[in-house]
């Protein structure tokens, strides 16, 4: 069941009505309904993986209690590493086993040994990377005594399996979500209205922007050898907007849906393509994952407390792991590495926190510099996305090579039966809308909201892509 499907459009109002009118007696009834709804939502993909979700929930729940009850540090450590080991073990088997087995076989082949690796070819349980990290953050927080273990199993289960965030985040923290789950929610009209606006805007991002861009990006990437420089540049830009529209659109729908149930989720995107440098980009893109890595990997590794060498080492580790988190393919690792390389000059000059404030614009030289910085950051990010989108590293290199050596900039007719430049107008309008609303969560609220909602619905109907249905990219991670 996808957020942009008819089944979800039926599911959501039913759960909403039951939640506020039938199961609104107390927080336990509210939470129980949300758990049942979440398990149903998850089972729509594959009910067999429900067992994995339940197992992961039970494991983290009991480990946290055992850890808290432990009298010695040794025991606490035991429970921590047991939980981490089992959680990452599942993730490793489902997501990474085949990759490592194949890579090892390829390595041996390079030395002249022929091997036939045993590949499991398992289906990746949807959302496993998200709910595993979700649970890990909880047990690590217990270990460091930042929070106390949750004794109420219903509340804890909802924290792990809450359907708006179950399959593609945002990756929540116990400190943020659990306190909300532990009290009865009362209906708040303003919050619910915000939620509806956010859902509509998320749908526009997904169905109008991401899915339109996908048809062009696919047409270019799948035939890059016959494309000219202009098409290849545009293909990369289209993919940059595809992945942004897709993932931030998903996050908007998740956050908006959750607001309908009176629960706030962590913000996941903050107009990342308006970043003035790469460090700022990573503070604005997939915020819940970036901050997860900062808090549970970068800081435990020493963060920026040691010397410059340690900072550089930790930064590279974070980006490489982040790349690998996205998928078991060398392309994701190179994507992470490239971002680390982009980050390095800022780190060495201690400028990685120089663009923390809001973007101020005016008719002066500073604003021109800001615009150039934004464009420069976008170009760097887009180049990195080529690795993210390509099927292999050689394909990505071939793509970039052709892009910078072809030197033909005429319009090309693509195999999606469209000219390469046709989508630029839509993207420019989208960028304009985001730019002028960058201080808000979404652009529909505020003055003339009904006009804006009408235009958004019109865009959804007239410009949305429904014929060539595409699921959310981040579901595969």
């Amino acid at each position: 069941m996808f957020f942009n499907s008819l089944s979800f459009a039926i599911f959501l109002p039913i759960v909403f009505l039951l939640y506020w009118f039938v199961f609104n007696k107390n927080k336990t009834t509210q939470n129980t309904l949300l758990i049942v709804a979440s398990y149903y939502f998850y089972s729509c993909w594959d009910w067999r993986f429900l067992f994995l979700l339940v197992f992961s929930t039970l494991l983290d729940y009991f480990s946290a209690i055992m850890m808290e009850n432990s009298t010695t540090d040794k025991k606490r450590k035991f429970w921590l590493w047991l939980t981490i080991g089992i959680n990452l073990g599942f993730l490793g088997i489902f997501k990474y086993y085949d990759f490592f087995a194949q890579s090892f076989a390829d390595l041996l082949h390079g030395f002249g040994f022929q091997t036939n690796p045993v590949l499991l070819k398992l289906i990746l349980p949807v959302g496993i990377s998200f709910y595993t990290f979700h649970g890990l953050s909880y047990v690590i927080d217990i270990y460091y005594k930042r929070i106390t273990a949750e004794r109420n199993f219903v509340d804890y289960s909802l924290f792990v399996s809450y359907f708006p965030l179950l399959v593609a985040g945002p990756i929540e923290r116990a400190t943020h979500l659990l306190p909300q789950v532990k009290i009865k929610r009362h209906f708040n009209f303003e919050k619910a209205k915000e939620g509806v606006y956010q859902i509509i805007w998320g749908l526009v991002k997904k169905v109008v922007i991401a899915d339109s861009c996908a048809t062009y990006a696919n047409a270019v990437f799948d035939n890059y050898e016959s494309m000219n420089s202009l098409s290849l540049m545009l293909g990369a830009v289209y993919f940059a907007f595809q992945i942004y529209g897709d993932f931030s659109g998903y996050s908007d729908i998740a956050l908006g849906t959750s607001k309908l149930f009176g629960i706030d989720l962590l913000k996941n995107f903050n107009y990342p393509y308006f970043s003035r440098d790469i460090a700022e980009f990573w503070r604005r893109w997939h915020i819940s994952l970036s901050s997860w890595f900062r808090d549970y990997l970068y800081i435990p590794l020493g963060g920026s407390q040691g010397g410059m060498w340690m900072k550089v080492r930790n930064t590279f580790i974070i980006f490489l792991v982040s790349g690998f988190w996205h998928g078991a393919n060398w392309t994701f690792i190179v994507w992470g590495l490239l971002n680390a390389i982009y980050f390095l000059p800022l780190l060495l000059q201690n400028k990685n926190r120089s663009n923390m404030g809001e973007i101020e614009m005016g008719w002066n030289a500073n604003s021109l510099k800001t615009i150039l910085n934004i464009l420069g950051t976008f170009v760097l990010t887009t180049i990195a996305w080529i690795f993210f989108r390509a099927k292999s590293i050689s394909e990505a290199i071939g793509y970039i090579q052709k892009m910078v050596t072809d030197f033909h900039f005429n319009t090309q007719y693509l195999n999606n039966e469209r000219y390469n430049i046709e989508l630029l107008l839509l993207i420019l309008v989208f960028v304009g809308v985001e730019w002028f609303n960058r201080s808000k969560v979404e652009p529909l609220s505020g003055k003339a909201s009904w006009v804006k909602v009408t235009l958004a619905i019109m865009a959804l109907l007239a410009l949305g892509v429904y014929s060539d249905y595409k699921e959310f990219i981040y579901f595969q991670f």
């Binding site: 209906f187 009209f189 509806v196 619905i457 019109m458 109907l461 007239a462 410009l463 949305g464």
Partner: protein
Amino acid sequence: MKNFFFFSLKILFVFISVSFLLETIYTFLYVEKTNYSKFQFIKNQQNKKYDYIFYGSSRVVNHIDPKIIDSSLDRTSVNFGVMDAKPKDILTLLKLSKFYNIKSDSIFIQTDYYYNSTGRSNFLYLDMLPFINENNIIKSYYYDEKDYLFLAYFPFYKYSKNGSKLGLRDLLASLFRKNEFEKTNGYIPLNGSGNSWQRELPKSVFYDNKFNKETLLFLDANSLNFVFFIAPLRNDTKNISFVSKLKRQYSTFWDFSASISNPKMFKNGYHLNDVGAQQFSLQFSNKIKNN
């Protein structure tokens, strides 16, 4: 909650109003202001009379040049072939020809590997969609679709679902497109040769295709003078014995399957190029003359 209820109703109202508005605009423009498709070309022949009308798939669209037939026989003919047409499409076009009062002395219906098919042409499906509520023949064409009710009655659903072919961009482009079939009486030439795409005919005939049966009943009921024929096939076509099996299904069947032997006259395994089509149109004229 009451406020939210009214707020949700307003959103729903906006959604439905916008859907109706877009449906009205798109349908008006497609029906009244565009003229680009083969279906529209056929519809434009309303109340006209021809000596010969040709029905069939791309193997009629790209094979029968009415101008050659007209000049060699001193008669009038028109090509009503539709890309990817199947028995269901041909039956629909026959019914629509009657509905639009398009008369003819004889009709020629191409038949082929698609004799077995119970599917439909995606081209005709899209061409007729804006006209779905125009008459019951068109409406019934969509009865087999899983989402028929949505296509026919849910405002703007048909345009959203087929956005890549009937969407805003296509609508705007269609407004400026001329109907290329008008100049050629429905014929579209193909150029080039040597495409290695080879066709494999079915091994057997599907006797119970309801559309073929209904077509024969329709032809009899309307006392139409008809001939079924098969267009030329390149000599590397597999399972060629299917043609003789097909022949047995019809009382009148003209077999042109081996009438063009030069592979250079074929664009690919199944379609003649313009040179081949001219040759075939002449052969067809001669066949009519000799009958």
